[in-house]
């Protein structure tokens, strides 16, 4: 049997983060690194970083993940959403410090929300994660494309319009439609 395969099947990032927080577990960190670092690197490159720079930014993201592991609350966010938010903040901080066109948002910790610390909320988050994924799979290509350009590539709506050669209003309405669909599906959960 291939142990590596078993590990992949059981890849449970939320548990890995919890293990890092509880025991500074380096193995758990290595597993997180193996999955997320190359994807964060891809995200940073889409956001305009060179391959070398993106490598550094992925390192920075995983380093922050290590430091902040204690703040991860599986009742509030899925692991991927949490890593995404850290990576986004890294890209924003760096772009800001190095002064690309505009200045951007300061990194900040998400405030805790006590009333979300219920066990049912864990289920809800896991369900939400699945629903987000399955709903995104049903979105028309034109919608998923603008969503990806906005959330992953970090482009402004006007930049997306220019890139795709479509009116700004069309970009906004596609994003609105996609988010509306997600909201409708997620609303069924509550």
């Amino acid at each position: 049997m291939n142990v590596y395969c078993d590990v992949m099947v059981e890849f449970d990032p939320a548990r890995l983060i919890t293990r890092i927080a509880a025991t500074q577990d380096r193995e758990a960190f290595a597993a997180m690194f193996a999955f997320y670092a190359p994807r964060v690197k891809a995200m940073m490159m889409r956001r305009g970083a060179s391959a070398d720079r993106a490598e550094d930014l992925a390192q920075e993201t995983l380093l922050r993940l290590w430091r902040k592991a204690g703040q991860f609350d599986p009742a509030r966010a899925s692991a991927s959403a949490w890593v995404y938010a850290i990576a986004r903040n890294v890209s924003v901080d760096i772009i800001r410090r190095e002064g690309r066109a505009a200045v951007w948002l300061e990194e900040q910790d998400e405030p805790d929300d006590e009333d979300l610390n219920e066990p049912e909320q864990h289920l809800l988050i896991a369900e939400r994660e699945g629903l987000v994924r399955s709903t995104m799979a049903t979105l028309p290509e034109e919608q998923i494309r603008v969503i990806r350009l906005s959330f992953f590539d970090g482009l402004a709506h006007s930049e997306i319009a220019e890139l795709l050669g479509i009116p700004l209003g069309t970009v906004k309405s596609r994003i609105r439609l996609a988010l509306q669909r997600l909201r409708d599906r997620l609303g069924e959960l509550q």
Binding site: A34, R39, Q59, Q71, R76, A85, R88, F151, K172, L179
Partner: protein, 207 residues
């Protein structure tokens, strides 16, 4: 307090915030609202879940061969920080200037967001009953109320309320009776006063 928030950022604004594509000035005003509004934090979390799903599905770009070694060395001397339950104030990262007089009953202090594209961030403190001059904007004006309240044609804005105005809107805000109103504002371009008197006063009101 949260129950009283009736004016929220638009869905588009929260989506841009979650994507990290708002300029720093506007992002700060949004984060001031988020610190006071669990409903909008939940909305941002939903959008971050979209980002998370995209991240998971992203084609991986291989890291360098020694990347994990580098990472393990980086964390070697780094402690995992304890869970911090205290709510961080987004303003902690900025220096605030002294309050200075800008007009009758109105004081202003700067917030050290680097000025870019003609956008500035400041706090305003206005005495109860103050009528701010009827004005138009040449760009956007985003406001989050921190204390007290004001009202204009679109309603009453109390603590935590978010006012997203752009160049299409005319404003004639009045500070509600009771306590002084303190707001944080991101302003792009200039404010254009609408009355003749206002235009005479414009040089005095140094916004």
């Amino acid at each position: 307090m949260n129950d009283h928030i009736t004016h929220h950022p638009s869905e588009e604004t929260l989506a841009l915030y979650a994507a990290g594509t708002l300029d720093q000035a506007r992002a700060l005003i949004v984060s001031m609202h988020l610190a006071r509004c669990p409903a909008c934090r939940e909305e941002v979390a939903r959008f971050e879940a979209v980002g998370g799903a995209l991240l998971e599905q992203a084609p991986a770009v291989a890291m360098k061969a020694d990347a994990l070694e580098v990472a393990l060395r980086l964390i070697e001397n780094e402690r995992v920080l304890p869970a911090d339950t205290a709510q961080a104030d987004p303003l902690d990262d900025y220096a605030l200037g002294p309050w200075r007089w800008v007009g009758p009953g109105v004081r202003q202090r700067s917030v050290s967001v680097p000025e870019a594209d003609g956008i500035k961030v400041f706090m305003l403190k206005a005495a109860p009953g103050t009528r701010l001059p009827h004005h138009k904007h040449s760009g956007y004006e985003w406001t989050c109320v921190l204390e007290g309240a004001f009202e204009h044609a679109f309603g009453r804005y109390g603590p935590g309320d978010f006012d997203e105005a752009d160049e299409t809107m005319e404003h004639k805000p009045t500070v509600c009776e009771g306590e002084p109103c303190i707001c944080i504002v991101a302003l792009q371009g200039n404010i254009r006063l609408q009355s003749r008197l206002g235009r005479l006063l414009q040089p005095l009101i140094r916004l």
